[in-house]
């Protein structure tokens, strides 16, 4: 597997390289936005770690340019811990966002999560933790037992399961479950998430709230 790091800090690059190589990745590096984009063309990475504060251009712009031709999973790694910065990155097509200073273990878990989705394809990934989905009948089972869900709850859970371990933004959830006109109706979403949480109680699944950004379905042991 090939990972591409775009960051101008040599120490960060070195540390990431150590951590990634110990987990079997082949690592390429880009020190600026321009070089990073070139490296993305040539090295054909399976995952990309992107810093936002690059010397030549803003990381969000790098991401936008990259998304014009590539769907490679991107994890943003930045010192910016503002909601607005995170939202901008997600809107530009980031798959996940980790703030510096970071925990290496968590970073690796997030990397695995965004790659899993990518490798498995969108529709096939219908299982997370103890929950399995049956898209043909719009039914779900939890630990083998049928889970009673309303159509809305099913649609919401399906979105979360498909992106298990990754953040799904509020906008994304509202648009796919309720339709584009509902993008401002986040209170309904929160109510339904609550319903789902109650129904998933006792399982090893947790719907985590990322303040101001969205939700992430996580298995508790990870």
């Amino acid at each position: 597997m090939i990972a591409l790091i775009i960051d101008d800090e040599i120490q960060i690059r070195r540390l990431l390289r150590l951590a990634l190589e110990s987990r079997g990745y082949t690592v390429h590096e880009g020190t600026t936005g321009q070089l990073g984009l070139q490296a993305a063309v040539f090295s054909k990475p399976d995952v990309l770690l992107l810093d936002l504060g690059l010397p030549d251009m803003d990381g969000v712009d790098v991401l936008k340019r990259l998304r014009e031709w590539s769907q490679v999973p991107v994890l943003v790694l930045s010192v910016r811990d503002q909601e607005t910065a995170k939202l901008a990155a997600f809107d530009a097509g980031a798959d996940d966002y980790v703030t510096k200073p970071f925990s290496t273990a968590e970073l690796m878990a997030r990397l695995t999560a965004i790659q899993r989705r990518h490798g498995a394809g969108d529709v096939a990934n219908l299982q997370a933790g103890g929950v399995s989905l049956d898209p043909a009948h719009h039914e779900a089972t939890l630990d083998g037992q049928p889970l009673k869900l309303t159509p809305t709850e099913y649609a919401l859970l399906a979105q979360l399961v498909r992106h298990a371990g990754r953040i799904v933004t509020l906008k994304q959830l509202l648009r796919t479950v309720w339709g584009p006109q509902a993008e401002q109706q986040s209170h309904y979403l929160r109510v339904y998430v609550n319903h789902l949480r109650k129904k998933l109680e006792g399982s090893n699944l947790d719907i985590r709230n990322e303040p101001g950004i969205g939700y992430r379905l996580q298995t508790r042991d990870s």
Partner: protein, 899 residues
Amino acid sequence: MVMTSNRIHPGENDRPDPDALLAQLQQEDAALKSGKLHIYLGMCPGVGKTYAMLQSARQRAGEGVDVLVGIVETHGRPETAVLLERLPVLPRQKLEHREFTLEEFDIDAVLRQRPQLVLVDELAHTNAPGSRHAKRYQDVLELLEAGIDVLTTLNVQHIESQVDIVQQITGVAVHETVPDSILDRAQEIQLIDLSVEHLLQRLAEGKVYLGERAERAAANFFKQGNLTALRELALRFTASQVDRYLEDIRRARRVSSPWKTNARLLVGVGPSPYAESLVRWTRRAATRLNCPWLVVWVEGSRALSPEEQERLTLSLGLARKLGAEVVSVTGESISEALLQVARERNVSQIVVGKPERANWWRKSLADRLIRGSGDIEVCVIRPLAATRQPNSKKLREPVPASLVTEYSWVLAIVFTIASLCWAMSPLTGYMLVALVFLLAIVLAALRFQTGPVLVMATLSALTWNFFFIPPHYTFDIQKVEDWTMFVLFFIVALSMGNLTSRLRIREIAERRRLRQTDTLLRVTQSAALAVELENGLAEALRTIDGLLQASTALVVREADRSLAKSAHRASSFQPSPKEWGVITWTFNNKQCAGRFTDTLPESAAIWFPLQTATSLMGVLGVRMPYEAQLDFNTRQTIETLALQLALVLEKNHFIQAVKQAEVVAQSEKLHRTLLDSVSHEMKTPLAIIQASLEGMHGLRNPYLAEIGTATRRLQRVVDSLLQMSRLESEILKPNLDWCEVRDVITAARQAVGAQLDAHPLRISLAEDFPLIKVDHSLFAQALANILHNAAIYTPEGSGIDVAGSLEDKCFALSIRDHGPGLPSGTEHRVFEKFYRADGTPPGGTGLGLAIARGFIQAQGGRILARNHPGGGAEFVIELEGVETFAPPESASAPKARSP
């Protein structure tokens, strides 16, 4: 009533028009803010209106309403006086007028006292000179605007639109009137009805008027016939109001069009004394049909005498007051002009007065209208001549000097031509002389006014006859052809002179209009295009000065939406201190005031509010020369100019606002860049240290553990400093969104991390706690700082209780620890920056609680600290007026679209 059917569009659906609904909502909104008006309506004095009003006031006072008797006339009736007892009565203000002292209703005292309900008797009363308003109903309107409820009384003969009917019935001219619009504003009109017999009996018993006055009243006004007719009028009027009220309700349910019918009335008025009556008739008809109406004044070529001008201004003023749209057009033929307006505006009926007498040589206006009207109905009514004469001082215009000169010129010209032709006539013959005279008349008509030209025509004819037609020196004419010639000459001379001077007058009128349009254009251009607004305004004001031959003053609105303290420096006169009262009134009431108006007419200038569709930008004052009048056209011009100025000022205001926003955005951007780079520089090394430590985790080296602890501490300090600096840079904009309180607490807990592990967190929050609208991350950060603080200052193992409550839209979150509590007296100081209690363990920066307070305040909340009576410190975060959303049953939530 005949309705036009040809204008109803088929297929119009019955769905409420959103604009109309909005208008109604706004009306209701405005009605909520302004006071409520309750009118006790009677057919004549003595039916018991004041009595009924006082009874109701006492009842309301008994219910605990703050009632004030503004002014009530008891007319010496003892039953009424009894009711006044135990009600607070406002002392009347005393106004000195010449040698009299007049007592008057004191509106300022009421506005100062601000009662909930005020009683103001006799709505149609005319105020004493020197009062703020000319009429009492204007006082009432101002009270209503101020949000004070008003009870008042009114007799039906004082209603503007009913005045001429009353005059027809009783033969008495009514001078004190109230416009119908104030009745439309009333929330309730209560008819106080009494049978005629009963009223006459009361009069005989002296319960209405006392002594001699009673007898006089009985002889004149209180006749059985009069009273019956007035009673009918009052009943009918009330019935029609009830009808309209009902119509309003129906319309609220199903609005199909803003008007009940597609009718639209038009009435043509001129300077005749019948105009007012025509206007009133049309208003009544329009009210019955519930349709809009136009009043059209056709300006012809004839110059109006000052008297006519004033009568016209009065009629048009009345039309405006009664709610008409006033249109003025120019045209030589009144009928054609009226028909043109009628077609352009989709008028369904034209109202016109019946001609006084038939002229065989000339068709009346009504005839001409009927002939040309096509599918428009023409309604011919018989108007009454107005008894009201223009009440302002008559200005007998002296014969202007220019006219005297013109007559002298005319005489001189005739004399000169006569002398010259006398010498030449033996050569040319006398027929040519006639042509020379005609030429002179035509030329003179181009310069002189109608009078001198007509004199010249007559004089020329006579001179020609006397001196040139044989036999000479006599008016005798012998030959038939000379007779014919003389008569033809006379007719040609007169009509030429007349025609030419009419053309000239028309040209002057056109030129005046052109000048007004031109001024308007220049004002707009100079003010709107000027680089410097100040210069543009100065130029605009000078242009207005030039047009009106008057001086102007401009008072603009300041940035904080209050009126400037002094006139704009481009003003050509400075308002006197007395004038400032008028200016303030105009600004506050958004209505024209001062000279030529009914409000504060003693003022030297007339003041117009500079009002655009959305905002009030200031006040424009025009001071005309002392003896000048303000005619309708000029007033309209000033209003248009005022609107233009207002638009220019508004535009400028918007430009300033945009500029300011740009500056703020610039500085925010700069600050953000700085913060970003500083946080990058500090956090990157920390990240490197932390990642390196993690890489060595397997070593379990105690030195490394120390480095780890120190790194975390350093990280917290850096976070605190950055947060503090963001807080102080004021670029913190709360991003409110729906939040689950439990989520916020979880997020805060995660942010504190391992340090909270030794303190069990007990959360008590109702299972169905509603969502609240807050800034999730700011709130979570504030809460994290408080939790961290509690974790540091309390012994390990002691728990922390977090409890949320919601009462009356006030969300409160209490965080209580079980430690030693706050040192007494320091409860307020803990939120200060860098404050640290004595003997506290190291590990805090002294910024955490200050940041927590800042983040909570940024979203409009507050935070306080105290010692819990049961021991330990308690922090309470309060957010008042927070938006909440209680989850509905899942059935009522919007359905997901089918996947």
